[in-house]
Symmetry: D2
Subunit: 320 residues, 4 copies
């Protein structure tokens, strides 16, 4: 890939609010084509100042706009859509966050229904400058952009873009970043790829429910790999293999992630099941994506170097 | 501290299996005294070969032996016991792990009760050599020792050493390692400190329920800090502040950890509540301790440099 | 209502497998019209003998067929669709149940992912005779039919008919029976009503995941009530008010159900919030719908006589 | 049993606040002896009027006083302690409830940690008159007393009397009432029986966390049954067999309860495992004990008539 290569631009004014097989595709692309996809922020740019309170400006149920569906030529059910993320560039010089009533990790919500009064509503606008998000008190958080939301269409469900699942979706996983490949299952012809909700930075868990929300130009390639669909999203970075589980309670998300990673080691890396269970016990890593969405997302990881050991034929038998 | 300083050795044959105010202390120490505490492994050294199946050798309910209680002079309810961990040295040249029926993160258990047959029972013995745990296939995992279990006595409860809680206990958090200070609440006179369950290495979550279990000599100091008890264990590393929450479901452990860390920022670091909520949202980090114990343990973290910004008086107001 | 009144029959061969606003309605009905809706069983009648193992006959992802969508004239977003269930009559003389691999309440599943082998697959066919389901050993369970699945379309999501939610869906709540009125929120024009999955009998929780599945003729009326949509399904029986919450973990389903019931008492029955909290604490009742679906369903109930007390003006002030 | 028989009275001023093997027994009784045990309320009678706010009168951590331990002659580890409850009589003419900050089912708590302000604190005092608890608005709830807390000592743990577990404890299960037999595991010599926390009435789940708290005289017999300890508490009523599971999340409590009931049917009632799974799926019943304690309690039930069918040899084979 050369960044000099001309990327095809994909923009829309006609956002989707679900991962769904039902809308008309906004574009049709070839497998492997270089794309520049423009994404709006989770508020659809309606929060631009501290006075743009969510309760005033987010009054309809259409939240977290997605650019998509993008029809990928040749993608058929059972395939994997490999999303090679090359660059996530900001389209403006600030990011927005907010404390939204009855939403977030440390408050009662619609699901964890409580009688307490909501937390105070508040908007935060932070400059994005010189590679940092600039918060009060001189706090500067490195710009580390990723796509909060990325996925394909389920077979016949249409799932809100606020929710993650086996199709990807609103995982809020910081490993969905430039340099990594996200592997998504294809369930419908053309895959129907969607993405959005770019974050300039985010802590593990996205505690209050709203990260450093930005508009973005996302350079990526969508490549079809025939016949290898996995049950859950996977991510390959230069150093690690990762599986993402999304569920409630959070332990089920962790179980899914580790279970998928283990079966991946078995199927593709030659591991015996019980030795793989040991490997993940002693060397697995976990990142919490979000603890705020309708399903929580947890990533389980293993170093590729360790994963590749089983079939490397290298010596050492771990026997005393 | 000088490592040349002579440490007082604390050993016992009379282990405890609970964090409890009821046993007689095995030692009384001065605040700040340099100690070498010897800990047995979680199996009380009954698993030494692959033939020592847990169902054969672990037939009584006394598991995870703790060295303690250690009475710390001057510690009174309401104080904090600061545990400065200086070194965790192995006492043998191998570690043990096992797949124990109806125990672990990817199997039905006594609590997540299921009708499925148990997973196959199996013991794993790995050499500990040249700074690595040596697993099969040439997999070498860096020796990164920590104390799986560390805590003080609750006020009047006696809690199994398999369980973590506000008193510390079986947290299986890799940040309980040399170089860090663990802050534990004192609930009874003398604090009644216990530790054990050293791990030579462990993945996040301790997936199968048994890490690289080792016997150890643990060099540490127990220092009493008057009148500062926090509701949950905290850890200070050179770079980070951490709070540990233990609960089920896992999201409650995460909520506790982040909530405690936030109130810590408010109380000791001058943060406004809602700005602290933002800081943790954008820059907090989470580590999963275990997903296998009677309560799961989750660590929430923030960089000390960021935590200290609020009262540093440095410029920058985060306003566009 | 007179049972002599002629009911309009609604049948389809073109089942839906989601609660969705996207399909063409299979019928358009007037508010209040008497209907006989024919429903297939959850297996679409593919399990007729003990040899019809689910792994053989349920090989596609299209499960739990729904009769619908039925367009109800006059229903608009914000309205309530009142479903008055008059009769649920069996269409055959047996019912079917099954133990399906990796599905059910006492087994690892796709969400509670585990490494254990699945439970043995098995089909159970029971005669339905003389008002009883006849199980082995002379066990006779009274025929107590209800609709496992009932709901309206979400605004823009399409949710699998295996899943319950705010729109109703696969709640598996035995109170969805003849004599009761189910109140469902209308989110789209025409409401898009669906039902199916009739059960001849079911224990609380639907433990193995499959009740006494039957084909049925369901006599009911769909009546539009303007402008009263509640956030979650509600049921009114001759003696009780009920709210249904669907979520994971199960405590969130219970929280939703009780929270909705409490706000109902406030809004429609004149209760002070804190007195209503007391009333439900001392006299509320809970039924577990299912503990097997992608979301669990819990019903919270209160006697109508008690609910109506606040505005009845009757004496007694509960003061000593 | 004749109510004319003289019961031995057991009172104490020296309450226990844990299920613990460590205190000195307050009484030693013979197996089968008729006892009148006097229990204080959960507030230790410190809440007598609406002005006795918990934050003022419950300032120490010693809550939910238990009458015990009672040493039962002949009880040894592995036995069952059968508690035959004959009568629960009020010792005063009112009951007390309260909304306690950060406690209850519809509020953030220490475990479900949130940043919301607490609910308003409030005390409710209701007359107990003519067989009813008299609440405001003329609401009269039938007097239906039961023991919120009942249990034996764990082997070496001491568990707060606010918590339920395998030993029984704070289950808040309304089936612990006169006419029923509670079967508790014996883990230490003498069983160390405790009870308290009588409730004059309670809704399923004990929603706000505080039922109609009363002082009581409890007439019961403690009978030792040799060698039959079950892993979880069981209850036998004239019509039903019940198992109680206590855990978080709530689905684990339900899994435990149904799993234990199923193994009971296998072991004592001659059921095949998979037919028992079917029986509970089609005819099991569930009651929610509490959704507020450190562990939630769920009861699974089956009619004794159905349970006894497997070995009754009655005809009918459930085959079409």
């Amino acid at each position: 890939m050369s960044l000099a290569e001309t990327a095809r631009e994909i923009r829309t004014e006609n956002y989707s609010y679900a991962f769904s097989p039902y809308p008309e595709p906004i574009a049709r692309v070839a497998s492997g084509e270089l794309l520049d996809i423009f994404t709006d922020d989770a508020f659809e740019s309606r929060v631009q100042s501290v006075d743009d309170l969510p309760s005033k400006v987010l009054t309809d149920p259409y939240l977290n706009p997605q650019t998509g569906p993008i029809f990928v030529e040749g993608a058929e059910p059972g395939d994997t859509l490999c999303v090679e993320i090359l660059e996530i560039a900001p389209e403006r010089d600030f990011v927005a966050s907010a404390h939204i009533p009855y939403f977030g990790g440390l408050t009662g919500t619609a699901a964890t229904a409580m009688l307490n009064e909501p937390l105070p509503e508040r908007v935060f606008i932070y400059p994005l400058r010189d590679g940092f998000v600039e918060m009060p008190h001189g706090v500067r958080i490195p710009y580390a952009p990723f796509l909060g939301t990325i996925g394909t269409a389920p077979l016949f469900e249409a799932i809100s873009s606020l929710t993650p699942g086996p199709f990807g979706g609103n995982m809020d996983v910081a490993d969905v970043c430039a340099g990594n490949v996200v592997r998504l299952p294809v369930r419908v012809e053309g895959a129907y790829f969607y993405t959005g909700d770019a974050h300039a930075a985010q802590g593990d868990g996205e505690l209050c429910g709203v990260a450093c929300e930005m508009t973005a130009r996302v350079r990526l390639r969508l490549t079809v790999e025939k016949g290898t669909a996995a049950p859950w999203p996977r991510i390959v970075s230069p150093g690690q293999l990762m599986s993402v589980g999304s569920a409630r309670p959070m332990e089920d998300a962790a179980r899914i992630a580790y279970h998928d990673l283990l079966t991946w080691l078995e199927a593709d890396y030659g591991w015996d099941r019980w030795e793989a269970y040991q490997l993940l016990t002693q060397a697995g890593r976990v990142r919490l994506g979000n603890m705020v969405d309708p399903q929580y997302s947890v990533v389980a990881k293993i170093d590729r170097e360790l994963a590749e050991a089983a079939r490397s034929g290298r010596g050492g038998d771990g026997v005393r």
